[in-house]
Symmetry: C2
Subunit: 307 residues, 2 copies
C-alpha cells in the first residue's frame, strides 16, 4: 500500500493510530444514522493559542470601531482588551468581556456578520507561527474528517465558540455545513418591516455558553443524535467525550494533548471557564479515552501552505 | 416522456405545477449551499385533521397512564382531554394543555421517548380516513422532496410540533435526518451519574413554541441558512414563507390550501394559536405566493397503502 492509498497519512504508526483505525473498522457494521462524530474546534481542529481565533476577530473589530469612535475605548472591558491588561481582564471576568464584545455586532444582520468573519479570515495572520490564520488547522484531523465522511459519518462541530462565527468558515475549512455546527448562540431579534421580515443580532446569549454539560444537552436538542466519536482537548469537552464513549456499541473518545512546543504550543487542557474539575488527562486515563500526543502521534501538524 | 420519467407525477398540469417546475429550473444555477427548503409538517406534509398526529400520540399515552394510575384522570387538563370536553379545553387554553401532556414524559430518556413514538406510529390508525397514520403523508409533497434532494437541496422540516416527536419519524417517512428538524423543543436535564452522563426530558419548554416569527429565528439559529423554498399551510407559517420569498435570487413560497373535503378535509389555514393575523390566503395573494389547491393541483393525495 502506498502512502497516498493509506488513510490518515499524517498519523504516525502506533497505538493511537491503531485505536482510530480499529474504531473506523468497527463502525462499518453500524447503520449510517448511528455514525455521528462531534469535534470540538478550538485546540482540537485548529490552533487556540495564544488567543482563540474568535478573540482575534473581535479584537480586530474593536480596534476598527475605536478608530472611528474613540470614546468607546475608555469602556473598562474594551480598555483592558486593547491594552492587554490581564489583571483587569481577570477582574472583569470572561462573561462580561464576552458580552461586551458581542455588543460590537448588536443590530447586525446575520449575513453581514458572516461577511465580516470571512473578510477577517481571508487576510489575518498568526504572529508567532507566521502563517495565515485560516491555515492553522490540524492536517491529521482534516484527514480523519475526510475518512469519516467517506464512511458516511455525519461530521459535526460542537464548539464553545460562537455558532455563527464558526459557521462562517466551517464549510470552507472543514466541509461542515452550518446546520452541523453547534456552538454558543446569541439571540436574534425579529423585525416585521415594510419590506418583509428581517433578523438582527442582539447582545443577549441564547441559553448558556456551549461548554461542559451544555455540549451534551445541545447535541441532543440541535442534532438529535448521540455521537459515537467525540474529539476534544479541554475540560469543557469532558462531558461530551464521556457521552460519546458511553453508548452500547463501538465508540472513540479522542483527547488532543498539546505537548508539542516545537511545532505548536505546549499547554494542559484546562479551559479558562472550568477550573474546579478533574484534569482532563486524569479523566482520560480513568475512562480509557484515546489520548493524541501531538508530538508523538502526528507526523505533521499543519497542511501545506499554498501562499 | 413516460409518466415514470416525469418529475412530480402526482401534480396535475397547470399554473401551480408550472411554478414549481420553473423554480426547480431556476435553482439549478445556484451554489448547492443556497439550495435550502423548509417544510412545515402538520397540514403540509401530512394530515392534521381532526387532530394533530402528535395529539393522538399524547392522548394514547395519557389513556395508558390513566389505566395504571387512575387518579391522574381527575386532573382538569387530563379530564378535559379524555372526555373531549372542548369547552373545558378552550377555557384551560392550549399552552396549559400542552404542558400537561409534556409532563407525561418528564424524566424519560430521549431514546425511550423516540421508542414510544415509533411504537405508536407503527400501529395507530386514522378513524375517519381508515388508514394507518403513517401513510397519511401527501404523495405530491414526497415527490417534491425527492426531486429537491436529487437536485442537491437540503430538505428540512420546520414544524410547530415537538422536535423530538417529528425526529422519531422524519427519517423513515421523509428521509429527513434529525438535525434537519426544527420544531418546538423541551429542555433536557443533564445528570452526571456514576455510570456516566445521561439526559432526561423535563417538562419545561425551551424558548417559545416554533410558530410564526419563531420559525424564522429558529431557522437561523439551528440551520444557519435562509430557505429559498418554504412550504406551509397556516398562519403560523406566514413569516417563514415571507422570509423564503424575500431573498435576492429565485424562491418559492408554497401555501397548501385544504380545499378537498372529498379526499382529505376542507378547512382554512387559521392556526389555533394565532388568530389575530391576516388570513393566510389573503397574505398569499398580496405577496404572490404559489397556492396549492389540493382539489385542483394534486392528482392523488396519499401514496398507495401497502398493507
Amino acid at each position: 500500500m502506498t502512502t497516498s492509498d493509506s488513510p490518515l497519512p499524517s498519523w504516525r504508526a502506533g497505538t493511537t493510530r491503531e485505536a482510530v483505525v480499529a474504531f473506523l473498522k468497527s463502525a462499518e457494521d453500524l447503520p449510517p444514522r448511528e455514525r455521528v462524530a462531534c469535534f470540538d474546534n478550538d485546540g482540537t481542529l485548529w490552533v487556540e493559542r495564544p488567543n482563540y481565533v474568535q478573540l482575534d476577530f473581535f479584537l480586530d473589530a474593536l480596534r476598527r470601531r475605536v478608530g472611528t469612535e474613540p470614546d468607546l475605548g475608555s469602556r473598562p472591558e474594551y480598555a483592558a482588551l486593547l491594552s492587554g491588561d490581564t489583571a483587569a481582564l481577570g477582574e472583569l471576568g470572561l462573561p462580561r468581556i464576552a458580552l461586551a464584545l458581542t455588543e460590537l455586532f448588536e443590530g447586525v444582520h446575520p449575513d453581514v456578520f458572516t461577511g465580516h468573519v470571512r473578510d477577517f479570515m481571508a487576510t489575518a495572520t498568526h504572529a508567532a507561527l507566521d502563517r495565515p490564520l485560516r491555515t492553522l488547522i490540524y492536517a491529521p484531523m482534516l484527514e480523519l474528517i475526510e475518512e469519516l465522511r467517506s464512511r458516511d459519518f455525519s461530521v459535526t462541530i460542537v464548539t464553545g465558540g460562537g455558532t455563527e462565527f464558526v459557521r462562517a468558515i466551517s464549510d470552507e475549512l472543514y466541509g461542515v455545513p452550518p446546520e452541523a455546527v453547534v456552538g454558543t448562540l446569541i439571540e436574534y431579534d425579529f423585525h416585521a418591516g415594510e419590506d418583509g421580515p428581517h433578523l438582527s443580532r442582539s447582545k443577549r446569549l441564547l441559553g448558556q455558553a456551549n461548554e461542559g454539560a451544555s455540549k451534551v444537552v445541545n447535541i441532543q436538542t440541535q442534532l438529535g443524535r448521540r455521537p459515537i466519536l467525540a474529539a476534544g482537548n479541554s475540560d469543557g469537552d469532558s462531558e461530551m467525550l464521556e457521552w460519546a464513549g458511553n453508548g452500547a456499541g463501538p465508540s472513540l473518545s479522542l483527547l488532543v494533548d498539546h505537548d508539542d512546543g516545537d511545532r505548536e504550543f505546549s499547554y494542559s487542557g484546562h479551559s479558562v471557564t472550568l477550573t474546579d474539575t478533574e484534569p482532563i488527562l486524569t479523566t482520560a486515563g480513568r475512562l480509557g479515552w484515546t489520548v493524541v500526543s501531538m508530538a508523538r502521534d502526528w507526523a505533521r501538524v499543519f497542511p501545506d501552505v499554498q501562499n
